[in-house]
Symmetry: C2
Subunit: 452 residues, 2 copies
């Protein structure tokens, strides 16, 4: 039998997260208070986050212990499997070897519980009673709902309206796990009401939903805020993916020439990529590639500058690749990739030239996802299809050049709850929407003037 | 850390299926031709099945080799994990230990690919070009679509109309994997047209859909028929579940007092249960329990007699527990359990008193499924919730009696594609429909007169 699945025993779940900060080429830019435009202090963040997470956000320790209680829950689906895509390689006729790490085995069906669980845990430790958060496609929302359920916390999720409508099953999952789900923009917050006044039919965006959740947390004593991507501690928690993948590659005596993940806010990319960035820093020769949608081209058409994390300018300002906090991406089917900014850590690595980024169209992504599903069986989430598209392009280039190549990508989630998107694809209703450069320029004019 | 997940290495995927026929207390009743009312010969079955499967259907060998090509594909999700439900035990406050084997890790999200893959394989070997089959909830239909895709066969699935409407995502999955999906009763077959003439608004049933698929296969030269449950070879293929479960129990030095699976046609029950029946035959003291819906109480309110496998009397006649081939179960949300009959193998074991059966209401099943999902994370398929309900009842009885007990049940699939059923449950729209005894009696009057 050909080896298909590369499985680690339970005791090989990482005992520590990998923090990339000490391995960056230079210091990180400060995070700036949206009101004072001065660097934030840990105390500024306390209304939003528990100290356990704030410490991780700013830590310069390379390795951070994973609490046993967290590892115990992660053990339900970790170590996640890695697959060699024999059937796909044959279907593509490529000399390349294709591996994928599969995060769809978590109860929520994506990589998001990897960080939802520790976030809920540290909040539970700090006495938080209720979590307010936001969600795009619903992968994060369902994951934080699940994690809150496991640690006895209440949970309110502001769900981007276009996803609320397109993905009713994700909403139902959150409700099943006990969360309140509110379509955003809503009339529950000042931020939501302000958007609705301008545009009653707003599709919503992650930026707006973040504003609502942050406002909710800031205005309720017992409530704190959780974010499913972008922040340093979120990237940190996701490194279990790459740490396992390296063990799995080691187990079969192989190593990737290129590592690929889709990119929305950056957590899934960071999760697989950062442990390989460490290898690259140590002298390994490999490429690390982020695949983002052409309709929300943060890394490929944005600028590297200070910007607000949310639409209503309530969230902290970070130095990151951004399309402008007012950027309103179209309602593409990979709702989890509709964010105007990028993780500051990912942004710095891109600026330093350590990693690469490319933008891919959703039609080509769904084409690749269908071919993948027919060869490998697993139905990919629309977000993950961006990584698949980029992996296909690498494999097809290897075929054209007649070169061997080892490709590893992250299949960040399954698409069982996203079948309506596949229906839209099959019925020819999907389009590639390329955002006009002028609109991006206009949006970028609204960046805050930070002098650092 | 508490051990949560019991994982076998890839080389422990069973190399042989377990055939229970030589371990039955007596010989099996013959299968009878629906036209002649005489025992069928293998030749009678050749228009419907390839010889490789017919041989398995009648084999009296205890162990049957699993072809390497089949094992290679099964290896993508097998061995499937077994979990110790620590959090659930705590939530129920029971002294019982609860284990569950989890089949939702297959690409189709249920146990059905375990048999779809070998069925497609033997058809491919026999030169079949196209498969016609039926599906209730869509778990079987999506699995046979996937398996056909992997072996290059075309696939047509007749889907029970109520599920076609309730479960659009399952339909989309089949289409994604390349199948034609037709709501049943349809006007594509004589069987379907006959039903529509009597009742234009028929919800459909598995019995009708089987008639349509059998007719399709019998009337097209290049087409053969596949069934997702009931038949001996289907039960055979599913024994990988129980064979792995026994190894997993062995690995942790435990053994179940009671083994539970939900029951529709019997394949999932056979899959987990039969390898434990072998232990019982060899002297082990344990109970093996089938949990069926009160709205389709084949095992608990049916009779053990000869009956047609389908509504239109085209499929072979078997001796089995049956509610009558004309029985039309209500449109309950566990569409996969809406079949009038039971696997002849399961039926004979029940008649012999080797196994037990109980009927449970869907409202109580969903209550248990919600509590399970909140404790364990995994969202169960509505079918699987019947096993969960029965496991809860055992665990709560152990609590009442203050007794230790080891419970093992099969979580046959996840419910990500069934969230609309959970919505219906939460909005109070689900009812327990108990079929009136008179209606069952009336239906049972139509059994064929077989003299054997």
């Amino acid at each position: 039998m050909q080896r298909t699945k590369i499985i680690l025993p339970e005791d090989r779940i990482p005992k520590q997260w990998y923090n990339i900060i000490p391995d960056l080429n230079g210091p990180m830019a400060p995070v700036v208070h949206p009101g004072t435009l001065q660097p934030v202090t840990p105390d500024d963040l306390l209304p939003l986050f528990p100290m356990g997470l704030i410490e991780q956000e700013v830590s310069t320790q390379r390795w951070i212990d994973i609490p046993d209680e967290v590892r115990q829950i992660l053990a339900q689906w970790r170590p996640s499997p890695m697959f060699r895509a024999h059937r796909l390689e044959k279907a593509l006729g490529t000399p390349a070897k294709i591996y994928y790490k599969y995060e769809g085995v978590s109860p929520a069906g994506s990589h998001k519980p990897n960080t939802a669980v520790p976030q809920a845990y540290y909040n539970m430790l700090a006495g938080t009673k209720r979590i307010a958060s936001e969600t795009g496609a619903g992968q994060w929302g369902s994951s934080i709902a699940l994690a809150c359920q496991m640690f006895g916390l209440e949970c309110t999720v502001y769900m981007v309206k276009v996803s609320f409508q397109q993905k009713p099953y994700r909403k139902s999952m959150m409700q099943l796990w006990g969360a309140d789900v509110i379509p955003s923009p809503s009339n529950q917050t000042n931020a939501g009401r302000a958007v609705l006044e301008r545009d009653q039919d707003s599709n919503g965006s992650l930026g707006i939903a973040i504003s609502e959740a942050v406002e909710d947390a800031a205005t309720h004593e017992d409530t704190r805020y959780c974010l499913g991507s972008v922040l340093n501690h979120v990237c940190l928690h996701q490194t279990v993916i790459g740490l396992e993948a390296k063990q799995q590659m080691d187990m079969i005596g192989d190593y990737p020439d290129v590592v690929i993940a889709c990119h929305g806010g950056g957590s899934n990319f960071a999760g697989l990529g950062f442990p390989f960035v460490a290898d690259k820093a140590a002298g390994k020769d490999l490429r690390i590639l982020a695949a983002e949608p052409i309709s929300c081209p943060t890394l490929t058409k944005g600028v590297y500058d200070f910007d607000y994390g949310d639409q209503a300018k309530m969230a902290p300002i970070s130095k990151m690749y951004t399309l402008g906090h007012d950027f309103m991406p179209p309602g593409i089917h990979a709702g989890g990739l509709r964010y105007h900014g990028a993780a500051p850590l990912v942004s710095q690595l891109l600026d330093e030239g350590v990693i690469e980024a490319k933008a891919v169209g959703q039609v080509e992504c769904f084409e690749a996802a269908v071919q993948f599903a027919r060869a490998e069986g697993i139905i990919p989430a629309p977000e993950s299809s961006h990584a698949i598209r980029a992996a296909f392009d690498e494999a097809l280039q290897a075929k054209e050049e007649g070169k061997e190549k080892t490709i590893l990508f992250n299949l960040s989630g399954h698409g069982h709850v996203d079948m309506a998107s596949y229906d839209a694809f099959f019925s020819g209703k999907l389009e590639n929407y390329e955002y006009p450069s002028e609109a991006i320029e206009e949006s970028l004019e609204k960046l805050p003037k930070v002098d650092m």
